[in-house]
């Protein structure tokens, strides 16, 4: 891995054209080292989701570039973006967002369908992660049979199972109480750092920033580092 896991330069997203054009993110630049866990703060409508969507290869920027692990994703086709996400980016969404009809283990091994890793590699990594996340005895339970914290731990496992370069975390505590939220974020920070990954966590909750290496604020589409 390069010393910079993520390099964002002049990233801009403008929706619409002419008089109706709205600048959601304006010339955002940001670097993240490997094993760096950053908190992204900002009020509603500030551009957090747009920024993280562009960094996560979910949205094509109007201008600027994003390099993850040294690879520029800004000009990728939709197909290339999908493949890149499957292999190089891990996501942890709010509201857990597990597949409801798959067991805890299957929610991790579902990535065998999409990543370049073999089915066996994904299976072995899934078992190891479930063990490390304290879910070994819950591996065959469906999401509805898991507590909120357990579901979020499964979601963390899913984000890590393909061994990505970058982990993007979207409001991980939105559906959890404070204590559980802290425990989950602490675990996230630990896993990200132990595995030498770069991570960005979008959050409204200032109590969670104590687990990050630094925080970045975004207001009206502009980053304040």
């Amino acid at each position: 891995m390069t010393s910079k896991a993520l390099e964002v330069e002049g990233l801009t997203k403008i929706y619409g054209e002419g008089h109706t054009a709205v600048t959601a993110v304006s010339e955002a630049s940001l670097d993240l080292a490997g094993n760096e866990f950053v908190g992204l703060l900002g009020p509603s409508g500030s551009g957090k989701t747009t920024l993280i969507s562009m960094i996560g290869a979910l949205l094509t920027p109007t201008d600027g570039s994003v390099r993850i692990g040294g690879e520029d994703i800004s000009g990728m086709s939709k197909k290339e973006q999908t493949r890149f996400r499957a292999n190089r980016i891990g996501f942890v969404f709010q509201s857990f967002n597990l597949v409801p009809f798959l067991t805890a283990r299957e929610n991790l091994t579902v990535m065998a369908n999409v990543s370049d890793l073999s089915k066996k590699e994904i299976g072995d990594r899934a078992d190891q992660l479930l063990e490390e996340l304290g879910l070994a005895d819950r591996r065959d339970n469906l999401p509805e049979q898991l507590s909120g914290g357990e579901r979020q731990r499964v979601a963390i496992g899913r984000a890590l199972v393909t061994d990505p370069d970058l982990i993007l975390v979207d409001e991980p505590t939105a559906s959890l109480d404070t204590e559980l939220g802290k425990a989950v974020v602490e675990m996230l920070a630990k896993e990200i750092k132990e595995r030498n990954k770069a991570g960005i966590m979008v959050t409204h909750d200032l109590r969670m920033v104590e687990y990050t290496d630094r925080t970045i604020e975004i207001v009206d589409g502009r980053l304040r580092i």
Binding site: R83, A86, F93, S95, E106, V110, S115
Partner: protein
Amino acid sequence: MNLGLSEIRRTPGRFAAIAGAVGFIVFLALILAALSDGLYLGSTGAYRTTPAQYWVFSPTSGLELSRSTIDGARLEQVAATDGVETAGRLSVFNTTATSEGQDLQLSLLGADANTMPVEIIEGRLPEPEALEVVVDSQVTRKGIGIGSLITPTNGPDLEVVGVAGDAGFGFTTAWAQHDTFLEVRVSVRPELGALEGTSQALGITTDGTTADRIAEATGLSVATPQEAIDALPGASQQKITLNGIVYTTFVVAAIVVGLFFALVTLEKRNEYAVLKAIGMPNRKLVAAIFVQALIASAVGYVFGLALSRVVGLLLPSTVPALFLGETAIALLGVALFMGSLGAIFSFRRVTRIDPANALGGPA
């Protein structure tokens, strides 16, 4: 891991609903198809079940048996025509009759040895000049079989000596030797006269000589079995109409499957957005829907088939339903195709879901 299969395994109730809906539609289609087959085959057997390659009618008959008369001289002329190997008579009249304590509408056919049904599934053909008949296999559903007596109104008792497969020709169908047929007809309908040697049509086999050549040589109308069937009043129209209804029901099945998966896609758009965000390609999601549609259609088909067979057993013998294996197999293909077609309407919806919706809370 196939997402479609996993979902069906874990949430079978959801798919039981769509499989049940498809099943009832398939049931309706199979019952209609059985009626269509039963009516069609039960009224065209005389032309299909004999060795005859062509049927010869009088020139102005319009290929209709009831309007055709062939006298003995014509029979000899046709039999002597170059290329004709065998020629046999065929005639029919409808009358009322009784058998096994039931009143029947009887279609009595007269035939020579080379225009008799080929598929005798039980017993034997009638002896010449004996008051004997073979009956169509569907007649046995009325409790009439070998040893039964069929008595046309004002006619002699006819003993059933055999059962022929696929030999129905309208009403309760019995086949007698042609001379016996004429004897019975003169008893029942004396006003028609004996008309010895005459028949309504001739069934012929040839050495490969075409119908046109024989028609040219004899001055008579010569038709293939299918052409003769097509000339039967209403037979083809009836089949086309019923088959039209059958295929329309499958269009309804496709719409039902399409609507089901459209609703499911709408309900699961957040789940699809998440899967796409983590890198699941569209083709995997589309394949999952396709597999689910195929399974729902297949299970629905099996349910509909079983239900139609149960209902078929309960139908009274007067209902001419005929459940054919080939029709069932063909409709299985149609059911799977239409189910898949219905699912295709959801493909575009799934591919258009933006994975970016997975971020920023539920889409």
